[in-house]
């Protein structure tokens, strides 16, 4: 391409400088570069983008599209036996697999309950830390540690230590004469312990909330205080509207993370989704179908439905933002 353009440009230059007499008609100009400045800038941009483009197309987009194709097959780990089965995986998912709807119920319960609680908790702690207390950095670090530990295998041990039949909680309850139970071993409370684990890992949204709180102009609080507004009113009418974009951002991240939650329940339930299917998250069932039963086609179909669910939930949260997110003068 460069050679072709370069050749054409040189030809063009010759025709412009030579008339019938062979004398130059115009002032001699140096041969023009094959690419314009704008083209060179664009090419450089794409060159810098190349690693990302390779990653996006090679590691993200193509595998996603491949999984879309596989969702219409019975792919089970070997291409020797694969067949195109159309929408059969989707039909089985919605009409035959009883565990599927159980997993949907569990996941929606988890998202609808634990995400708001986690956000409220993170905002509460961030608000307290925003008071200018001493050793703020230390507290911030301590509160962030659970976010780092939350998905580690050590949590399985810790959670049994706290929530087990002979665990810490029951020992405390015993002091008050209350007979406990195995909280992680009972279907009425096992999901609750996973939710607590999610709330416990509030560090990431807390840090973001804290950054948002630091951006709220102090003069707004001063003016409100002069007008007689109490703490609660200042929080409700100044703080919350001011950080509502941050709440939206954290909310969307938490909703997406909630639907994708896997490691916590995998380590706590030992990958079973028990007891009695009470912690059978969507992603855990997907994992069981794919890697426990080698039904990769079916699992791909589940993954695409999950993508649609997450997309719809994210869109819904975004849409609701029109009614409660304050973007300053842009509203």
């Amino acid at each position: 391409m460069i050679d072709t353009h370069g050749h054409a440009a040189a030809e063009s230059a010759r025709s412009e400088t030579s008339g019938a007499s062979g004398r130059p008609r115009r002032r001699d100009r140096p041969p023009r570069s094959a690419w314009t400045e704008s083209q060179r800038t664009t090419a450089a941009g794409y060159a810098f983008l190349t690693p990302w483009l390779i990653g996006f197309f090679g590691v993200t987009l193509l595998p996603m599209l491949a999984s879309l194709v596989l969702s219409f097959t019975n792919f089970s780990g070997s291409f020797r036996t694969v067949q195109w089965i159309g929408f059969e995986n989707y039909r089985l998912m919605f009409t035959v697999d009883p565990a599927y709807w159980q997993s949907v119920r569990v996941t929606f319960t988890y998202v609808l309950v634990s995400v708001p609680i986690m956000l409220i908790f993170a905002l509460t702690v961030a608000t307290l830390l925003n008071k200018g207390i001493a050793m703020l950095g230390l507290y911030r670090t301590i509160f962030y540690v659970p976010s780092l530990l939350g998905t580690s295998v050590a949590i399985a041990v810790l959670w049994r230590f706290i929530w087990g039949e002979t665990g810490l909680l029951n020992n405390v309850l015993d002091l008050f004469g209350i007979v406990g139970r195995s909280w992680i071993g009972h279907p009425d409370t096992a999901l609750l312990t996973i939710m607590v684990l999610n709330v416990w890992t509030f560090g990431s949204p807390m840090i973001i909330f804290l950054a948002g709180l630091r951006q709220v102009p102090a003069e707004l609080y001063e003016a409100a205080a002069l007008d007689g507004a109490g703490r609660r009113k200042r929080f409700w009418h100044i703080t919350l509207p001011s950080i509502s974009p941050v709440i939206l951002f954290n909310g969307i991240l938490a909703v997406i993370g909630g639907f994708q939650a896997f490691t916590q329940v995998y380590v706590v339930s030992g990958g079973t989704g028990g007891p009695a299917g009470s912690t059978l998250f969507y992603t855990l069932l997907l994992y069981q179908r794919a890697f426990g039963e080698l039904r990769f086609g079916y699992a791909s179909a589940m993954a695409w439905v999950l993508l649609l669910i997450i997309g719809a939930a994210t869109a819904a949260v975004f849409a609701s933002g029109r009614y409660w997110v304050y973007y300053g003068d842009e509203r």
Partner: protein, 451 residues
């Protein structure tokens, strides 16, 4: 073009113009792979036909102690074969199958891969393993010392053998007899059924201290239900469906509900809490239950935990099948279809199972050696523990009774979790035994039919 292909193109035309290109690219790529990899079955290769260049990877599963023992055997073979570069990939049992699944999907399974009788069919059926018949017939892999019934039970539906057993295990009842004696109890009659065991436990429970139960709740264990079904004259698997009746499963659930309600087995929440823990942390290992069941090769792990706290001694007796030969399983070695050094892999497998020194290193942690002469040499060795010799004697009894290795069909692995869920629903009062049994059978049949 095939009907399937026409359908696909028709659907592609109905997509928007912008969506067609990426979908078409992915579709063509996937379908090309399907076509390229859908070659027909080849005859099992003999020694002169197999590739013999390059490194080999060896992968297996087990506890840390077990993996260390296997590693030592591998190291010894490596010292004798310095020209072969070896990479080992040991891991825990649960994570092992996840990893092999991913490797199978990528046609990248280690050259020598451990298999188990409950899992191997899925990889055999999918063409991930090399048929070993040719290497067996020409003696490259020496299986002459393995009882014919044991070897033949590994023959797959297509008539080939893909897996060579390296460790035999059998399900049995485990007893903590010294602790039972402490509480004035004698062990239950090992010739009985699970129903007899539960009756014994309910009678024995009043003499147990608080927090100790006479028997573990086995209602959620598919292998123990298998023993129960055998005692009832039924089987776990039929032809593409379950081989037992709804009534049998209902009575199984009722049996264990009775044990729990009678206080002889742990309450359901405690049982569920301990369901997924390693053997060394099980209720039997921590001394909270005194009769349970497991594979015979697991009792050394249980004993290690009991020894740490001085909580007794575990022994294994025949599974409560009411006199019917109990279930025998096997760990085995397979060679992956994608292996580039089949010759060295076959030599490793043959050496692993036939070298008596290996059995001494492994101490039956991976199961009892499959070769009869190796077993006999263990029996004759004064340094081998009596517990191992008892297990060998029990295994020989089982062989005399006609026991074969129980190879589970593909799809059966899902039943392990499903029966636990169904039983827990009964135990927690969410459904009746009969409804749970019917639900489980429906799900199991769906899984076994390849749903």
């Amino acid at each position: 073009m095939s009907h399937v292909g026409n359908d696909a193109i028709g659907r592609l035309h109905r997509l928007s113009r912008s969506a067609r290109l990426p979908v078409a690219i992915a579709g063509v790529a996937a379908l090309s792979l399907m076509a390229a990899c859908s070659g027909g079955d080849a005859d099992p290769p003999a020694a002169e036909d197999v590739p013999s260049e390059g490194p080999i990877a060896i992968t297996w599963y087990g506890s840390d102690a077990r993996n260390a023992a296997v590693q030592q055997v591998v190291d010894n073979w490596s010292a004798e074969n310095p020209d072969v570069q070896i990479e080992t990939q040991p891991t825990t049992f649960d994570s092992y199958w996840d990893r092999v699944s991913v490797q199978a999907a990528a046609d990248n399974i280690a050259c020598v891969a451990a298999m188990q009788s409950r899992y191997q069919a899925r990889y055999e059926d999918r063409g991930n393993l090399l048929p070993l018949d040719g290497l067996i017939e020409d003696g490259t892999i020496d299986v002459s010392g393995i009882p014919e019934a044991v070897l033949e039970s590994h023959r797959a539906a297509d008539g080939h053998i893909y897996v060579i057993p390296y460790g035999i295990w059998f399900e049995g009842a485990t007893l903590n007899a010294p602790r039972l004696a402490e509480f004035g109890q004698t062990a239950p009659d090992p010739s009985g059924s699970w129903a007899d065991y539960v009756d014994w436990a309910i009678e024995a429970q009043p003499s147990m201290p608080e927090g100790t139960w006479a028997i573990a709740d086995r209602g959620d264990q598919i292998t123990q239900f298998q023993a129960y079904a055998l005692g009832e004259g039924e089987t776990l698997f039929g032809d593409g469906e379950v081989g037992f009746s709804e009534e049998t499963l209902t009575t199984w659930f009722d049996l264990w509900t009775r044990a729990v309600e009678g206080g002889a087995a742990p309450p359901p929440d405690v049982n569920a809490e301990y369901a997924g823990v390693p053997t060394t942390q099980s209720l039997m290992a921590v001394g909270s239950v005194l009769v349970s069941s497991t594979g015979d090769n697991n009792i050394s792990d249980v004993q290690i935990a009991l020894d740490q706290n001085g909580l007794g001694t575990v022994s294994i007796v025949a599974s409560p099948t009411d006199g019917v030969p109990q279930v025998v399983g096997a760990n085995g070695w397979a060679i992956s279809a994608n292996c580039q050094n089949v010759a060295a892999s076959a030599d490793f497998i043959s050496s692993f199972i036939n070298t008596p020194e290996n059995a001494l290193i492994l101490e039956t942690q991976t199961g009892l050696p499959p070769v009869t002469s190796v077993l006999e040499s263990l029996q004759d060795d004064p340094d081998v523990s009596q517990a191992i010799k008892d297990r060998i004697a029990l295994y020989f009894d089982l062989l005399d009774q006609g026991a074969t290795v129980d190879i589970w069909p593909d799809g059966a692995q899902a039943l392990v979790t499903q029966i636990a869920t169904s039983y827990q629903e009964v135990a927690f009062g969410q459904t009746s035994s009969q409804a749970a049994a019917a639900d489980f059978i429906a799900q199991a049949n769906a899984a076994l039919s390849g749903f």
